[in-house]
């Protein structure tokens, strides 16, 4: 899918039912892909942090934790949400997925104009951190396996050993964020820096 197709993807979409419905007063939603979520503790991590979030956010936020295969309906919702001005965080868990789900994950990312490389097992390594530069500079723990970005230097917001693994992109009024290294498990484990980083994104 080309960028202009991505931008126009929302046209004619039928709203997906219960899977990712926005409750009327809640503007931050964790979109649980259920069997297509590769790391359940990532869902728990985001939910735990967002449960503490008493402040209203400026914009709607959709978080997709540890995505493996991304169903068409979820993909459409990601696009429509960004189109509507939301911040969408798509966290990849595909490095922990089966080969088939990994392939399907890559196909879905291409539809979102995100090109990635094959998963990399990071360990053993010297520095166990992902370096984020946006929305705040932060060193957050890697999660053993990563999906690196290909050709996204200009939009990258996070790197491991100089390799880009996270990007941010403005799409229409919304912001699309891709995380190639799972952040949710760090939230689940109580990492205060990871929480601050997420809250800054949510409030951005």
């Amino acid at each position: 899918m080309l960028r202009r197709e991505f931008l126009g993807f929302a046209t004619g979409i039928v709203t997906m039912p219960a899977l990712i419905d926005f409750p009327p007063r809640r503007r931050t939603v964790v979109l649980d892909l259920q069997e297509h979520c590769c790391l359940r503790e990532s869902v728990a991590g985001y939910n735990a942090v967002l449960a503490d979030l008493s402040l209203a956010t400026r914009r709607s936020v959709v978080i997709v934790p540890a995505a493996g295969r991304i169903p068409e309906a979820a993909l459409q919702r990601i696009v429509t949400s960004v189109q509507a001005g939301a911040v969408v965080i798509l966290e990849s868990g595909a490095a922990f997925a089966s080969r088939q789900d990994l392939r399907a994950h890559g196909d879905a990312l291409r539809a979102l104009e995100v090109r990635v490389s094959a998963p990399v097992h990071l360990w053993p390594r010297g520095t166990p951190y992902v370096d984020y530069q946006w929305p705040r500079a932060a060193k957050l723990r890697d999660f053993s396996r990563v999906i690196p970005l290909a050709d996204h230097a200009g939009e990258a917001i996070g790197w491991i050993d100089g390799v880009p693994v996270a990007l941010r992109r403005q799409v229409s009024r919304g912001t699309f964020i891709f995380l190639g290294s799972p952040l949710g498990p760090a939230l689940w484990a109580g990492d205060a820096d990871a929480k601050r980083w997420l809250l800054d994104v949510v409030r951005s």
């Binding site: 503790e41 922990f96 360990w123 166990p128 723990r141 999660f143 484990a189």
Partner: protein, 279 residues
């Protein structure tokens, strides 16, 4: 108190039955079976074959003291990969199942492994979640899960109060501590661990440790009973204080290079001496 020794001490070329004869002859009351560490007791060993192991143990005049495993060193409950964690939980479940088949009521689990890659906070949370579920399963089977204190090797739950807090957080009466008095070496004193954990101790591993005796003075090495630096009178007194009257299981990390059967006799005699309190 009763004496046992692990079947992983039996020279592999001897086979299980010859090993049992030696264990009985050396004066032990029971044998600890190590799932996955010996050819006769693997994850794939069928229920009927496990029953056959029990028959052999009982025919030798012994009982099974508990079911242990070293499989969690490679596949820990704290793994980041959900598939590896599921396999680790399955290992514990199989331990529980086989404990019932073997007529014993305790299993040993190395609960978590802190590494450079997998940090402490993650390990703590994952072990907590896993053991809450496994504790329920163990309780239904009337089996106790003893988390072993492998202090230095695990780099996890290194102090007795920390371990106690962990067990509090698990909150299951079916989950306790399998206390290894030789594993504490530089991180404390076994007699203090015994006093703190008391009724939560499911089984006790006995071995001794030479503290700071390595070539550079910075290493501790395991050794036979009474040869190392454990305070054996203190340990014996602490067991009396907490009224521990269960299994003592010899876990000799260092094997005799020659005459391996002699280690069974020597260790049994040392354990008798320890139990009698003539120290």
């Amino acid at each position: 108190m009763k004496k046992a020794i692990g079947d992983n001490m039996i020279p592999k070329e001897w086979g299980f039955e010859r090993g049992l004869e030696l264990v009985k002859k050396a004066g032990y009351d029971g044998i600890e079976l190590w799932l996955g560490d010996v050819p006769w007791f693997q994850m794939a060993t069928s229920d009927s074959d496990v029953r056959e192991l029990r028959r052999k143990v009982e025919n030798a005049g012994l009982v099974v003291s508990n079911v242990s495993t070293g499989l969690h060193w490679a596949t820990p409950l704290s793994a980041r990969d959900p598939a590896a964690r599921a396999q680790a939980a399955r290992i514990v479940e199989r331990q529980i199942e086989t404990a019932v088949l073997l007529g014993t009521d305790a299993v040993l689990v190395v609960a978590g492994l802190v590494t450079e890659e997998v940090p402490y906070n993650e390990v703590y949370q994952r072990c907590l979640e896993a053991l809450k579920l496994l504790g329920d399963k163990a309780a239904r089977a009337a089996v106790k899960v003893g988390c072993e204190n492998c202090n230095s090797e695990q780099r996890f739950l290194i102090s007795p109060r920390e371990f106690s807090q962990f067990l509090n957080d698990v909150g299951s009466p079916a989950v306790g501590i399998h206390l290894d008095v030789g594993n504490i070496h530089d991180t404390g004193f076994a007699e203090q661990w015994i006093e703190i954990h008391g009724p939560r101790i499911t089984r006790i591993h006995l071995k001794d440790v030479l503290k700071h005796r390595g070539r550079c003075g910075d290493q501790s090495v395991y050794t036979n009973l009474f040869l190392g630096d454990n305070n054996w009178p203190g340990i014996r007194a602490a067991l009396t204080k907490v009224r521990y009257d269960g299994w003592l299981i010899a876990e000799m990390e260092a094997r005799y290079r020659y005459a391996p059967d002699q280690q069974f006799y020597d260790t049994a005699q040392a354990m008798d001496r320890f139990i009698s309190g003539r120290l």
